[in-house]
């Protein structure tokens, strides 16, 4: 260089550049608030549309992600639906405790009647119903459909039964009453129906908890699936993110398409999950109603109705959005122009 001067010391230009008008060129672009808002809503609408376009642009990979979400959600949903149906089926058996006292076949009817009268006077007993062997046979024939088999028998195989309704329903007084009933010479066996009802309630509760736990675990799985898919989307659009950041995009702007993609994944997954559960119910409805008929019950399987549709689609969409948030929070800030 021939013209190198001292460091950091500017030399005057050979000829002063003429004054330039600043009217046309370097005016910072400004946009009004209303414009900004409408463009913000526009961008949301565009991203919503674009995320669907992107979803169907690669139907295989998007479809598989959505299907994984769907299966993971369909499992707990089906379990929950099964429990609801089970509860509906057993609702006919009320929780009122009842003690069935099966008497020896040889017990004479007069002795049984006096035993029943004794019991009616017991402070622990609210009421006693006597079912004679003949009554029991008639009832059995009516409700079980096995009447023909019994008709073939020489004698009535059914014993007389006393149905004792206890006054209290706490376990200790029930047990005390049962022990007293067992002690009677005429008693063959005592069945505390309450225990069965309680077991049923406990089993239902167990099922509820298990389905809840499963749902939580699988929701976590869905979250991870979405995080991973969105991470791949972010990786694929790395160049775009860099350029957009360099031309002044805010983080919210960069995040938006990925959040919508997560939302769409969740929504589609939730809808497919609902279809899976509906399909399952449709497949099972026939056999279940057949089985119910055999038991003389008019029980019909409840399908996943509108509530399940809204719940599954909404919950899944929320999961998708959350997963996408987690992914963008981790990965988008890491992509900075260098």
């Amino acid at each position: 260089m021939t013209d190198t001067r001292a460091v950091n010391q500017r030399t005057k230009p050979p000829a002063n550049p003429p004054e330039r008008s600043r009217s046309a060129g370097a005016v910072t672009a400004r946009t009004g608030v209303g414009d900004r808002f409408s463009s913000w809503t526009n961008h949301h609408r565009e991203m919503w549309r674009e995320s669907w376009v992107r979803f169907f642009a690669s139907p295989m990979s998007s479809g598989m992600t959505a299907l994984v979400i769907a299966i993971a959600l369909a499992l707990p949903a089906a379990l929950q639906l099964g429990l609801t149906n089970f509860q509906k089926a057993v609702a006919a058996w009320d929780g009122q405790p009842q003690i069935s006292v099966f008497l020896h076949k040889r017990a004479r009817e007069s002795a049984v009647q006096s035993f029943a009268d004794d019991l009616r006077g017991d402070p622990l007993v609210a009421g006693v119903t006597y079912i004679s062997p003949e009554q029991a046979l008639a009832e059995f024939q009516q409700s079980s459909g096995l009447g023909d088999a019994l008709l073939g028998m020489d004698s009535n195989p059914l014993p007389a039964v006393l149905l004792v309704r206890p006054r209290g329903s706490d376990t200790s007084s029930l047990e005390a009453l049962a022990t007293r009933l067992r002690a009677n010479a005429m008693t063959d066996s005592v069945v505390l129906d309450m225990a069965w009802v309680q077991r049923l309630a406990q089993l239902t509760e167990l099922g509820q908890r298990m389905s809840m736990g499963l749902a939580l675990l699988l929701a976590l799985g869905v979250l991870l699936v979405v995080v991973n898919s969105i991470r791949l989307h972010i990786e694929n659009r790395r160049d775009e993110i860099l350029v957009v950041k360099l031309v002044g995009a805010t983080d919210a702007f960069v995040r938006r398409p990925f959040l919508y993609t997560g939302l769409v994944y969740g929504l589609v997954g939730g809808l497919i999950a609902w279809l899976l559960v509906s399909g399952g119910v449709w497949l099972l409805a026939g056999p279940v109603s057949g089985l119910a008929n055999l038991y003389g019950s008019g029980f019909r399987l409840d399908g996943p109705g509108f509530t399940y549709l809204v719940g599954l689609a909404g919950g899944a969409a929320l999961l998708g959005l959350t997963g996408a948030w987690l992914a963008v929070a981790r990965h988008i800030s890491a992509i900075q122009p260098r």
Partner: protein
Amino acid sequence: MIQFDNVNKRYESGQDALGRVSLEIDRAEMVFLTGHSGAGKSTLLKLLTAIERPTRGSIIVGGQNLNRLRNSQIPYYRRNLGIVFQNHQLLFDRSVFDNVALPLSVSGCSRREVGRRARAALDKVGLLHKEKQNPIVLSGGEQQRVGIARAVVNKPALLVADEPTGNLDPKLSEEIMGLFRQFNAVGTTVLIASHDLELIARMRQRVLTLQQGQLIYDGYPSREPAY
């Protein structure tokens, strides 16, 4: 427009990229930044575009102190800046028009405004007739012109270019420089980093030379420099 005051940049690796650089560039000036690779050109541009922050010293651009710029304010700062890259950084998944429109949609212009301004910018670089094409089918010179259109579409007060003619032959380079001169003529401050000394000499504009992170020359080279 641009004011560097004793700016020091040391990278985390311990490498001193810039040392005590002070300079001042007025509004509507056109300045070339030159020096060997590794002299600190890129670092200076990165500081200017808020990609990096100075270790010491202050940088004021358009009255805004970049040291005090919060991370959340950087996007808004960059919207007043036009950046042209050597490898033009165009997105090949969208049309020329959409590439140019990108800064406008980012800053929230209405659709009508976006169309009007993007077409005006494309018209200025002479590529309006190719707005619907994918930039991948354009020649290197045309791609760079698209990059310039994108940089000026926001009507920035400051245009920064990093080796804008790096991959272009002399004739195309001349064309690109002509464009920069046009934008400068309407009042845009233009800072171009380049190592094409011949081209710089022909432009006869102010030149800043960096060497090992130091500003060793700031002035107007003589008519026919014997580089």
